[in-house]
């Protein structure tokens, strides 16, 4: 259909928008084809009619309105921002807050027992500090049958149990000794063993009660705390009771002694002697217990179980305990993998609500944004 083909080209021909060859072709065709010539003429008239349209001038005030709209948008921008951005901002803020809360929970959940900050353990309610309780808990010295104020401080037996993983066992053992001595205490007990090339030992430090917290913190700094137990046993009552009983027995002893002075019969003397021995023994027993309590309260006990961390690279030629090291390394890896899996599980559980919320927010924002853009479109 050459005619239709030509008709398609007539409009661009009119505009001189054809390539040289096409233009010439159309030119030649139009010269020979009356129909196309008529068509071209009609198109030319059409185009001319459209071009003859009077130029349109914009009505008055157009420019001013554009300017007014733009400066209005400029000044109201901060106010417009708030509603426009409130959704995403609110969503972001909520997400940040939730992530923060859950991270805190997560951290608390995953922190090993021993890595509690020192402040935490000082605030431990089971261990009242001597200075806190001193004044109010004093037994009243007045009263008809009041006992002399024998206890001026609450007697608390403090104990700590720590398990440490350390890099160098020997070094830590020496440091423990130094620490105890510097605190005015001593190492009451130490045991040492080697398990498959991994040295480990138990040390029992006795340090003055007042230095308990400081020493515990210092010991914890020597390695990675894997276990930690702090105990405080209030023995004040038992202490007071013991003192009272000892005093009574002493009075009884005095009486017996005065009876003995006045005794005339040998049988009486023997009976009194026997009584005295029993009272004396009881006094000694109670005094021993009293002294033990006193010492326990004065000197806190810190049991430290120290274990050297498994090192996979020791001496190049040192194969002693290689099997043990391998086993330890293997177990350590398995433990790490398991704890990693656990961590992933815990993290996923902790984050699941956050992610769900975030997804919800995202969908809402997307929906709203899409709604807005389709409105603008």
């Amino acid at each position: 259909m050459p005619a239709t083909h030509m008709k398609e080209l007539l409009s661009p021909f009119l505009d001189g928008a054809l390539s040289g060859r096409e233009h010439d072709e159309v030119q030649r065709h139009v010269e020979g084809c009356a129909e196309c010539r008529a068509h071209l003429e009609s198109l030319r008239r059409t185009a001319e009619s459209v071009r003859s349209l009077d130029p349109v001038k914009v009505p008055e005030g157009f420019q001013a309105q554009v300017r007014a709209r733009l400066s209005a948008a400029d000044t109201t921008a901060p106010r417009r921002w708030l509603p426009r951005w409130s959704w995403p901002v609110a969503a972001a803020a909520a997400a940040v807050l939730l992530v923060g809360v859950f991270s805190a929970n997560l951290l608390r959940e995953m922190r090993p027992v021993g890595q509690v900050a020192p402040e935490d353990f000082r605030a431990e309610p089971a261990v009242p500090r001597p200075s806190d309780v001193q004044a109010p808990s004093l037994p009243a010295p007045a009263g008809p049958q009041a006992l002399p104020p024998v206890v001026d401080v609450r007697k608390i037996v403090r104990t700590a149990e720590l398990a440490l993983d350390v890099d160098r066992f020997d070094e830590v053992a020496a440091r423990l000794l130094q620490t105890a001595e510097r605190a005015g205490g001593y190492v009451a007990e130490s045991a040492y063993a080697e398990d498959g090339g991994v040295p480990q030992g138990t040390f029992t430090l006795r340090v003055p009660a007042a230095r308990f917290a400081a020493v515990t913190a210092e010991v914890e700094g020597l390695g990675t705390v894997t276990h930690r137990r702090i105990g405080g046993q209030d023995v004040t009552e038992e202490f007071v009771d013991l003192q009272a009983r000892i005093r009574n027995l002493e009075r009884h002893e005095q009486r017996l002694l005065s009876f003995m002075d006045r005794a005339t019969k040998v049988s009486d003397l023997l009976a009194i002697e026997e009584q005295l021995a029993r009272v004396r023994g009881e006094i000694e027993q109670l005094t021993g217990r009293l002294r033990f309590l006193e010492r326990s309260a004065d000197l806190a006990s810190i049991a430290v179980m120290v274990r050297q961390k498994v090192k996979t690279t020791s001496g190049v030629w040192d194969f002693s305990g290689t099997i043990g090291k391998m086993r330890a390394a293997f177990l350590a890896t398995v433990r790490q993998i398991l704890s990693g899996v656990e961590w992933l599980g815990v993290t996923a559980s902790a984050l699941a609500p956050v992610l769900l919320l975030a997804a919800g927010f995202w969908l809402v924002i997307r929906f709203r944004r899409r709604a807005r853009t389709s409105e603008i479109r």
Binding site: S11, S42, V50, R51, F62, R67
Partner: protein
């Protein structure tokens, strides 16, 4: 055309948010943009709205304008889209003046008057499908080349060519009745 000399300066200032500089650009382009939106939307109210929208949008989008096209081309693109948006959103409403004119066009004598002819052409353009309308307005009203139209509409030149061709063919039929020589067929076309 003195404005075009420092158009680059005005653009740079506008991009920094200088409303006074942009005001000058609006002054320079408002008639052309309004003419475009008027011929595409077909009525002054929509034309005003579309042109306003175009200038406001252009100012906000100026930061994204990288200058890889002429500002005029870019502005026309925004204006065409704004006009098409309005057409799409609003039901096709005739210019009230045109509607009134449609009743009186039965008079052939008045039809040949220049004013009426203008209105008839305007109505004929307005009756075209939006794509063809935009093409013919850009070509024959705004006087763009095929290449420029392709740049404004972001379509290949071949598409511009065929749209324009179809638009003119449709206009040819619509306007044929208006030519004085065929004045008598006018009544027939009214009956159709």
């Amino acid at each position: 055309m003195g404005v075009t000399v420092d158009e680059g300066t005005l653009l740079a200032a506008s991009r920094r948010g200088d409303l006074t500089a942009y005001d000058e650009l609006v002054g320079a382009y408002q008639d052309r943009v309004y003419q475009l939106t008027y011929r595409v939307t077909g009525n002054p109210e929509d034309a005003w709205d579309a042109a306003q929208e175009a200038f406001v949008k252009a100012f906000r989008a100026l930061k994204a304008f990288r200058g890889d096209a002429a500002f005029s081309t870019w502005l026309h693109r925004i204006a065409v889209n704004a006009a098409l948006d309005i057409i799409r959103r609003r039901p096709p409403a005739l210019d009230p003046l045109d509607a009134a004119a449609a009743v009186t066009t039965e008079s052939v004598d008045r039809m040949v008057e220049q004013r009426e002819l203008q209105r008839a052409i305007h109505r004929a353009i307005a009756s075209l499908p939006p794509d063809q309308r935009v093409a013919v307005v850009l070509r024959d009203v705004q006087g763009f080349s095929y290449g420029e139209i392709a740049a404004v509409l972001q379509v290949p030149v071949g598409t511009v060519r065929s749209r324009l061709s179809r638009a003119r063919d449709a206009l040819r039929h619509a306007l044929a009745d208006l030519s004085p020589a065929r004045a008598h067929s006018d009544e027939q076309s009214e009956w159709r």
